[in-house]
């Protein structure tokens, strides 16, 4: 019951007028930053970090955590409304959120995203409150082989994301992985795949450049070709009946929301993994366990619920190793860690003992941030829907402008903007021939985690690949992943033989 006492004390801190005000402000700011393609929670937290010197550390941390939460909610808005994933964590949300919006059901997608985020956030904070210290030790047990096995599992969920054209799907995965290898190879210390010796490739190809290129430019060109200048979206009308119907439909996805929240949280606490693999895996699992997997990718609400519940759960999860071990589980928590250093707080196993006020104030404010994020988000939904009513010939150029600015902002290099245009044009031309592009986007996110983990594992194991099978945690994960990858392939081949026979 000590935990409850701590939590009560925490709530008293979180609900001090200053802190509560900061939570609300942070959520609103985060929501807008997250909704902007190209900017995600990392940018929001990094940029506002120096502003937090105005308030005491606990309040500053609460503010930044609120921005983090707000941005996680906001990411879904860009995915649904513009079809551009605002951050890597929201990639999976586009798969079904976008088709829903095109069908005139943007309201359903947005409400689903908001409520699922709330659900994921709540479950993960409860887990956080109850089990932070023991979970931290699990995070430490994850070495390179375990991380690689986990990435393999994430890749397994790709299978089925592509089109029916197997060679084109594999092509797409591979090209994404090759692009993810561009830049400095940390294992050998050598630059690699520096095309035409252009210095801009030294820092690799940013996920956002590919994602905004493909979704913000390529997809837009494709839509413009397919429509005659008129809006391609049927307009959403908000009525009480509709809202009730939507809620009823959402109610049916609660099982997916629960399993995705747990999955997201556990993937989130693993260092290096973070929220993106968590949301992808949740999407994959939701599709695999669904009775109607063929509806996924065409506007299935569960396909919005799963990644959104998971990415919010994971973002809370990734704070756990940061606070208890001083290991950031995601880029955003890395910045938060920097903030704690500036405020003179030493993250680590002793933080929970020595800085109880800080830790429990933060945990309580996570509850508050989550609650306010869902309320504020729902209040803004009509405004976002209104945006969709703009004539397409105005919305389209604005999306191009957002892509331009969003492609520039993360790295502030024109090199990335040109690259984005190239990916956009290439993506458009390939899209016309039914090359699926989502697998390439996912591959460029997971590649930079998977490849070093693979090589570090092999280096430690003297090049013995059995390291992925004979370790107690890595083994089962690897085997499950391999089964999941090979099963559909085997099925496809069998079907082909049957057809031929």
């Amino acid at each position: 019951m000590e935990i409850l006492q701590h939590l009560m004390d925490g709530f008293l801190i979180a609900f001090e007028p200053l802190n509560l005000g900061l939570v609300i402000l942070g959520v609103v700011v985060g929501l807008f930053i997250g909704a902007m393609p190209g900017l995600g929670s990392v940018n929001g937290v990094a940029i506002l970090l120096p502003m937090t010197f105005l308030v005491p550390p606990t309040s500053a941390m609460i503010f930044l955590a609120a921005i983090y939460y707000g941005a996680m909610y906001g990411g879904a808005i860009s995915s649904v409304m513009l079809g551009i994933p605002g951050a890597s964590t929201a990639v999976a949300t586009t798969f079904d959120g976008r088709p829903l919006a095109l069908r005139g059901e943007a309201d359903k997608a947005l409400v689903a995203a908001a409520l699922a985020s709330f659900f994921g956030g709540t479950i993960s904070i409860l887990l956080f409150t109850g089990f932070a210290p023991p979970l931290a030790s699990i995070a430490l047990d994850f070495g390179d082989p375990e991380i690689f096995a986990l990435m393999l599992l994430a890749f397994a969920t790709f299978v089925g994301l592509g089109s029916d054209d197997i060679p084109k799907t594999i092509f797409s995965i591979c090209i994404g992985l090759v692009f993810s290898a561009v830049g400095l190879d940390i294992m050998s210390g050598e630059p690699r795949l520096i095309f035409f010796d252009i210095i801009g490739f030294m820092s690799g190809i940013n996920f956002l450049v590919l994602a905004i290129g493909i979704y913000g430019i390529g997809e837009m060109l494709w839509t413009i070709e397919k429509t005659d200048g008129d809006s391609m979206m049927s307009k959403a009308v908000v009525t009480v009946d509709r809202v009730l119907n939507n809620l009823k439909e959402l109610g049916r996805t609660w099982k997916i929301a629960v399993s995705s929240s747990f999955l997201g949280f556990f993937v989130g606490i693993l260092p290096a993994a973070g929220a993106t693999p968590g949301s992808l895996m949740a999407y994959g699992v939701a599709k695999m366990t669904s009775k109607t997997p063929e509806d996924f990718g065409k506007g299935e609400v569960a396909g919005v619920v799963a990644p959104e519940a998971a990415n919010n759960a994971a973002s809370t999860g990734s704070m756990l190793p940061m606070l208890t071990l001083g290991i950031p589980g995601s880029p955003t928590t890395a910045i938060l860690l920097g903030g704690m250093v500036i405020w003179g707080l030493v993250p680590g196993p002793l933080l929970f003992v020595e800085q109880t006020e800080f830790v429990w104030g933060l945990i309580a404010s996570l509850y508050a941030a989550n609650l306010f994020a869902v309320l504020i988000n729902i209040v803004f939904i009509p405004a976002f829907l209104w945006m969709l009513k703009m004539p397409f010939t105005i919305l389209a150029p604005l999306i191009f402008v957002l892509s331009l600015v969003g492609g520039y902002a993360p790295t502030q290099k024109m090199h990335d903007v040109w690259l984005m245009l190239l990916f956009g044009a290439g993506g458009y031309l390939l899209r016309k021939l039914d090359y699926p592009l989502a697998p390439a986007v996912l591959a460029i996110v997971l590649g930079p985690i998977a490849e070093p983990a693979l090589r570090q594992s092999l280096l430690i194991a003297n090049g013995d690949p059995m390291v992925f099978i004979n370790r107690p945690i890595a083994g089962p994960i690897t085997i499950i992943a391999l089964i999941l990858i090979l099963l559909p392939l085997a099925k496809a081949i069998r079907n082909r033989f049957r057809k031929a026979g």
Binding site: I170, S188, V401, L404, L421, L433
Partner: protein, 165 residues
């Protein structure tokens, strides 16, 4: 469409070969007691890409994929026109950033698109084209402290920095 399918496959095959060559600048084999070399990951994946292109060509040859039997044109004249007008406009916008900066480029592009492609009234055009860069300035330069490029228009912004930053 049928012709586009095989041409694209051929181009992608060439690109795969280029990637393989480029990857081979680093060791691509298995280093004893260490595992794969620095270029191995991308080399072998590019090799798989090449195989996929061959596979696509094979399907094309056997007329197995929908694209290889489609007689629809890959791009008809309206599609080509749209692609050039819109894609060209975006390209020009990015090129303009180098000269008149982000804000100038956005202004010109929006006027071009909304007025000349969208055929909206001048009042609508100007309202959106002028307010978009202003909102962007306050969001990025002022609030987010992300300074967007200004090109040759930089002197115009110095007094704004004095006021807002």
């Amino acid at each position: 469409m049928r012709r586009a399918e095989i041409i694209t496959a051929a181009l992608m095959a060439l690109f795969s070969i280029y990637l393989m060559v480029k990857s081979a600048e680093l060791p691509i084999g298995w280093i004893e007691d260490e595992g794969p070399g620095g270029g191995a990951f991308s080399f072998w994946l590019a090799a798989v890409m090449l195989l996929c292109c061959v596979w696509i060509a094979f399907n094309w040859f056997r007329r197995k994929s929908p694209q290889s039997v489609s007689s629809e044109p890959y791009m008809d004249s309206t599609a080509r026109k749209k692609f050039l007008l819109v894609g060209g406009g975006v390209t020009a916008m990015i090129a303009l950033v180098h000269f008149v900066g982000m804000y100038g480029a956005i202004l010109v592009f929006l006027i071009y698109y909304i007025r000349f492609l969208g055929r909206h009234a001048w009042s609508t055009t100007m309202l959106i084209s002028v307010s978009a860069p202003i909102v962007t300035f306050f969001f990025f330069d002022v609030a987010m402290r992300i300074v967007l490029p200004k090109g040759y228009l930089e002197p115009l912004f110095l007094p704004l920095y004095d006021i807002f930053l």
